[in-house]
Amino acid sequence: MSLTVKNDIELYVLIFASAIFFVVLGSFVIYFLILYKNRQTKHNEEQRVLRMQFRQELTQTQLEVQEQTMQTIGAELHDNIGQLLSLTSLTLNSIELDNAVKARQKIDDSIDLTLRSIKEMRLLGHLLQGDQLVAIGLSEAVSQLISWMERTGQYELIYTATDELPAASSADKDLIIFRILQEMFNNIIKHSGATRITVNLDYGGGILTLSVQDNGVGFIAAEAPLTGHGMGLQNIRKRAAIIGGEAAISSDPGLGTQVIITIPYP
């Protein structure tokens, strides 16, 4: 083969191979860019849907906290304040004006009952700020909720809280954590028959841990979705997941129940 023909062949081989190489490479890069754009659009859409779901869940949580607050107010008005005011009314109605000593006694009793009613109303006023309690700090909000549970007189409550909650908190997360705790207490009231509840709020390494343990009847965790426990526990898990956390629920019949929520915080 002559040198010129050989040189031509080698040049054609090189050009052909290089052309194929660069066409394949260029096509690959263009394909990658198109694919990236599509993934980016899909990712943005997923993020938008997640944000919307989070907002919906947050609104739902706010409504539920308000509803819970209203229910508690209604119960307190009926069971407690209503009784006190009824007794006040009866006492005032039974005053005999011609017996000064007894009348004085009954007026004093009425004043005492009125003052107790005022005190209960003030405490109720704190509860009215239920969903705003979270604004004064999660730890304080939890303390208030525990105080209300204690006042029922049916539970011994042991509460320990860390002093080290970060100054910068997340209002959305605080509200959802507060609602999770309310749901846990609702479950205990409705299903557990417990007499002692231990609540622990701990924080460390950017993780908030809320633990609630009771000495109630317990249940078989695997059967929970089939019983009344199911919906409440599912809600707890769902709410914890919405704010990037996890709910670990452990229970055995006769041994009580423990729910541990771990959440990245703030």
Binding site: K6, E10, V13, L14, S18, Y36, R39, Q40
Partner: protein, 222 residues
């Protein structure tokens, strides 16, 4: 183009990229710092190889050392960026490194070009770049790919590794048929220039548009 002028231009580009990387050193992420140091080492190795060629008439030992340093550097870069795959990369690269050292000392020897090692290294770099591009697809961010440092790093490795494999294939073909190798070396030269230009873009973007670390930490991007 005269070989000496061509080589000087290549050295100038390499020096510019390495100096730029070192100037932006403090503002760059750790992977890009490693890249900048590697560019500097590559520049020094090119100078050293000329010295070896002139004085000892054999510059191949330099390529044995530099190819291993380059492999360790790129492996470190991708271990830092692709944290999810770091264990697999470490195990695989350890095995490859052992084989490369055995190749240098026992199989091809220091006086011959380490083509076996370079071939395996280039295939590994190709794997790294494809893995990197796949990770970009898994974590798409707002910034367009052409403004991301990681994209240019991956494309640089993809282009260079792919073309080196093509180069070796054509080199064997040309040798077997006694073709003139000059066009092939010109092709390789152009690819090297493109490679270092892409790396320069990667270094520039890392210190200006956003650190390269976003890949496994989407929330940490600028």
């Amino acid at each position: 183009m005269n070989l000496t002028i061509r080589f000087a231009f290549y050295l100038l580009l390499l020096l510019t990229v390495s100096v730029y990387g070192l100037v932006r050193f403090n503002k760059s992420s750790i992977p890009i710092r490693i890249l900048a140091v590697l560019m500097g080492i590559t520049f020094l190795s090119e100078m050293t190889s000329r010295f070896f060629a002139k004085i000892l008439h054999n510059s191949m030992p330099v390529y044995h050392v530099v190819s291993i340093i380059e492999f360790i550097s790129f492996t470190a870069i991708y271990i830092l960026i692709l944290k999810a795959h770091s264990k697999a990369i470490i195990y695989l690269s350890f095995v490859i490194l052992i084989l490369a050292v055995i190749n240098s000392l026992a199989i091809q020897g220091l006086r011959n070009f380490p083509s076996n090692s370079v071939l395996v290294f280039q295939i590994t770099y190709l794997g790294y770049s494809l893995l990197g591009l796949l990770k970009m697809l898994s974590f798409p961010i707002e910034t367009p790919p052409w403004r991301q440092s990681f994209f240019w790093l991956n494309i640089a490795l993809l282009v260079f590794s792919g073309s080196e494999l093509l180069f070796f294939g054509l080199l064997n073909f040309s040798n077997r048929h006694h073709f003139n190798l000059n066009p092939l070396f010109t092709f390789n030269y152009i690819i090297n220039l493109i490679y270092y230009c892409f790396l320069a873009v990667a270094i520039y973007l890392d210190s200006h548009s956003g650190k390269i670390y976003y890949i496994d930490e989407p929330n940490s991007q600028k």
